[in-house]
C-alpha cells in the first residue's frame, strides 16, 4: 500500500527524530528457555505510562516452529526512506523482520492494524536463505536505502565466511549476498553505515561452530574470536580497509555510528580483553582519509570470590564486565553500555566522542552481585543488563537480560531469568530505574532484543543533519 503522505515515523534528520512522540508499545523477542521447549514469541509490552496495563504484556505472537532462537530484529522501512538518493517515503513502517539466529528461519511480522496484535504474514525457510545467499544464522537487520540488509554469521555447514545479504523491501524476497569482494573479512556479526559517505562498517563475533555449543575457552584464550573492524564501500560492495584491534580484544560486537550523517565516527564494543578481562569501547574515525580506531573506554573486571563464579571463571577470581551491547542516543550525546557480567548499566556523556565521561550507573543482576530491582528489593536477579534500547527522545532506556542461550547457561548456570526493565532519563541526563516498570515474563522464555514502536536509537539512519 502506498501512502499519500510519508510515514509519520520517518524523520529527515536526527534533530527532528528526537521530537518524536513517546512509544506506547515495545516489541520484545522471547526465546524458549530450553533448547527444545516452546516456540519462540514476539511479545508486545505496554510502555504507555498512563495506561492501565503499563509494563504488562498486552499481546504476542508465537512463531510456527520450535528452535528458532529469536535474537535481533528490525523494521522493513525507516527514516532512511527520506534519503535524497533513494527517496521512497510513502511506504509504511509496518513489518518486523524477525530472524531465528539458530534456525536461520526468517519471519515477517505485521504490526498493523492493531500494534498489540502482531501477525505473521510470511516465513522464509532456511533452505530458501541458503539457496539464495549461501548464508545462515541471520543476525542484525537494518532498513537500507535500497533494500533490507541482514548480517549472517556463517554458511550452511556452520563455518565462515559470514557476511551480509539483501532482502527486497517490497516483496521480502531474499535477493542474494551483498559482498562483491570481502577481502580479508571472514567472521561477521553486526553492521551499520555512514550513508552519506557510502561507507559500511562490519564487526566480528565467531562462526556458528564457534558459538553454538557455548563459548569455547580454548578458542577464546587463543584469540580466535573476532577482533577486527571492517570498512566497506557501500556502492561497490568491496572491503576497503580492515582494522585489527589486537588478538587480545575478543569479540567486537555492537556498532553505533553517529546518527548525524555529517559525522564520520562511531563506537564499537569489545566483550573481553584476554589481558585483564576488561571490556572496552573503541571510537572509529577517519584521519586523512584512512580509518583508525581508538580505545576510548575501558571497563575493568571486578575481583570476586571463586566460590561465587561459574566454572568458566573460577580460575580468574574476577568477574568480567562482558560488555554485550552498547547504544547511542539519537542526539549522539549519551552512550549506554551493558555490562552483562558485572550487572551494571553504564551511561557515558560522549558529547566529545574522543573523551567519554562516565556520568551514570545502575546495578541490576550480575554473576556475583545479583542486585534486585527496586520494585522487588528482596528478589535477587540473575542475568544482567544486555540488549539496550533508547527512545528517540532519549528519555527512556529499556533493557533485557539474556545474551544467547548456550552462553547464558555458562555464565548463569542456575538460570538467567527473564526480565525487562526501564530507566528514566531526567532533564539533567541523570538515570534512575522506573520502579513501575519491571516486567517478568513467563519462565518458559528468555528475553532478547527490544524494538520501540515507530523507531528507536538503533533502528533508523538519516541523510540530513
Amino acid at each position: 500500500m502506498q501512502l499519500l503522505k510519508p510515514d509519520p515515523t520517518f524523520y529527515a534528520s536526527p534533530k527532528d527524530a528526537i521530537k518524536a512522540p513517546p512509544e506506547t508499545v515495545a516489541y520484545v523477542a522471547l526465546l524458549s528457555a530450553t533448547a527444545n521447549g516452546v516456540p519462540d514469541r514476539l511479545a508486545v509490552v505496554d510502555t504507555d505510562s498512563t495506561s492501565q496495563r503499563y509494563a504488562q504484556t498486552i499481546g504476542s505472537v508465537a512463531l510456527p516452529k520450535i528452535g528458532d532462537e529469536v535474537h535481533h530484529f528490525g523494521w522493513n522501512a525507516c527514516s532512511a526512506a527520506l534519503c535524497p538518493f533513494s527517496p521512497h517515503p510513502h511506504v509504511e513502517r509496518r513489518y518486523l523482520i524477525v530472524p531465528g539466529l539458530r534456525s536461520s528461519r526468517i519471519h515477517i511480522i505485521d504490526t498493523k492494524p492493531d500494534p498489540s496484535q502482531p501477525r505473521i504474514v510470511r516465513v522464509i525457510e532456511p533452505e530458501e536463505l541458503i539457496k539464495r545467499t549461501g548464508y545462515t544464522r541471520p543476525h542484525t537487520v537494518h532498513c537500507g536505502p535500497d533494500a533490507i540488509y541482514i548480517s549472517a554469521l556463517g554458511n550452511a555447514d556452520g563455518d565462515g565466511p559470514g557476511g551480509i545479504f539483501m532482502m527486497d523491501c517490497d516483496t521480502f524476497d531474499i535477493i542474494g549476498p551483498w559482498e562483491k569482494d570481502r577481502g580479508s573479512q571472514y567472521l561477521a556479526y553486526d553492521f551499520w553505515w555512514h550513508l552519506n559517505r557510502d561507507v559500511m562498517i562490519t564487526s566480528e563475533w565467531g562462526t556458528p561452530k564457534m558459538i553454538e555449543d557455548g563459548l569455547n575457552p580454548e578458542m577464546l584464550l587463543a584469540g580466535k574470536y573476532g577482533h577486527h573492524l571492517h570498512f566497506w564501500d557501500l556502492k561497490s560492495r568491496r572491503q576497503k580497509q580492515s582494522i585489527d584491534l589486537g588478538a587480545e580484544q575478543q569479540m567486537v560486537l555492537e556498532l553505533r555510528p553517529s546518527h548525524d550523517p555529517n559525522n564520520e565516527w562511531g563506537f564499537a564494543g569489545v566483550v573481553v580483553s584476554l589481558k585483564d578481562l576488561s571490556s572496552s569501547i573503541w571510537l572509529w574515525h577517519r584521519e586523512n582519509g584512512e580509518w583508525t580506531a581508538t580505545k576510548v573506554i575501558e571497563i575493568p573486571a571486578e575481583p570476586a570470590d571463586p566460590e561465587h563464579l561459574p566454572d568458566l571463571l573460577k580460575g580468574f577470581a574476577a568477574v568480567p564486565p562482558l560488555l554485550s551491547d552498547i547504544d547511542l542516543s539519537v542526539d549522539d550525546r549519551y552512550l549506554y553500555a551493558s555490562c552483562w557480567g558485572t550487572g551494571e548499566m553504564r551511561q557515558y556523556d560522549v558529547s566529545d566522542p574522543f573523551n567519554p565521561k562516565l556520568i551514570g550507573s545502575v546495578r541490576i543482576g550480575g554473576i556475583v552481585k545479583r542486585t534486585p530491582h527496586p520494585a522487588k528489593p528482596a528478589e535477587p536477579l540473575a542475568g544482567g543488563p544486555q540488549m539496550v534500547e533508547i527512545s528517540r527522545d532519549g528519555r527512556r532506556v529499556y533493557f533485557t537480560n539474556s545474551l544467547y542461550r548456550a552462553w547464558d547457561d555458562q555464565f548463569y548456570p542456575d538460570g538467567v531469568g527473564n526480565w525487562m526493565v526501564k530507566l528514566n532519563v531526567g532533564d539533567d541526563g541523570k538515570i534512575a530505574f522506573d520502579e513501575k516498570f519491571f516486567v517478568e515474563f513467563d519462565p518458559a522464555y528468555r528475553v532478547h532484543q527490544v524494538r520501540l514502536q515507530g523507531g528507536d536509537a538503533s533502528s533508523d539512519s538519516y541523510c540530513f543533519s
Partner: protein, 214 residues
Amino acid sequence: MSDRLGWLTLFLLGCYHGLNPGMGWLFAVGLGFQDRSRMAVLRAIVPLALGHLVSVALIVLVAIYAAAALPHRAVHFAAAGILIGFGIYRLVRARHIRWVGMRVGFWGLTLWGFLMSSAHGAGLMLLPFVVAGRTNAASGMAMPMPGFQAAHRALYTGWLMVGVHTLGYVLTATAIALFVYSKIGVRFLRTGWVNLDLVWAAALILTGLIALVT
C-alpha cells in the same frame, strides 16, 4: 488544444516533475548540505536535468518515428494503452529504483536522473502531444508533410517539446532546491511530501482514457 495552451501544458508538466522531491531537487539539496555549498546545489541540477531530458527525449523520439511509420489509429490507441497500462502499474506496484550512493559524480547523477524520470514515466505524458501534433495541421507542433521533410520537421518539433518540458523542470527544481537549501530546510518533507508519483499515475490513466474517447 490551441497551440499556445499546448506549449504551456508541456512547460507545466516539466514544472510538475521539477516539483517532485524524488525527481532531483532533494538530491541537489542533500549534496549542498553535505558540501555546505550553494554552488553544490546548482552544480547538481545540471546532470539531473540532463538525465531527465534524455529520459523524456527517448520516449518522444520513439513516438515520432512510430507516428511516422504506423497508421494513426494504431499509434493513437497504443499511446492511450501505454498511458493507462503504465499508470495502473505505478498504482499497484509502488517499486522504487534501487540506488545506493550519495557520492556520485556528474555522470552518476545524470544516470540517477534518467532512471528516476524513466521509472516515473515522465516522458509518457508527452505522447498525446506527439500523436495529436501529427493530425493537427494548424498547430505549431504539426507534422503534416509526408516524406523526409515531414520527419525532419517532426524531429525539430519533438526536440522543442523536450526542451520546453525540461526548461519547466529546471526552473522549478532550481528554485525549490535553492529555497529549501537556503531558507526552510527539509523538515517540512515528513508532512509536506505528497505522493506526487501516485497523483502522476492517476493523471496518466486519466489522460489515456481521454485520449481513448477523443
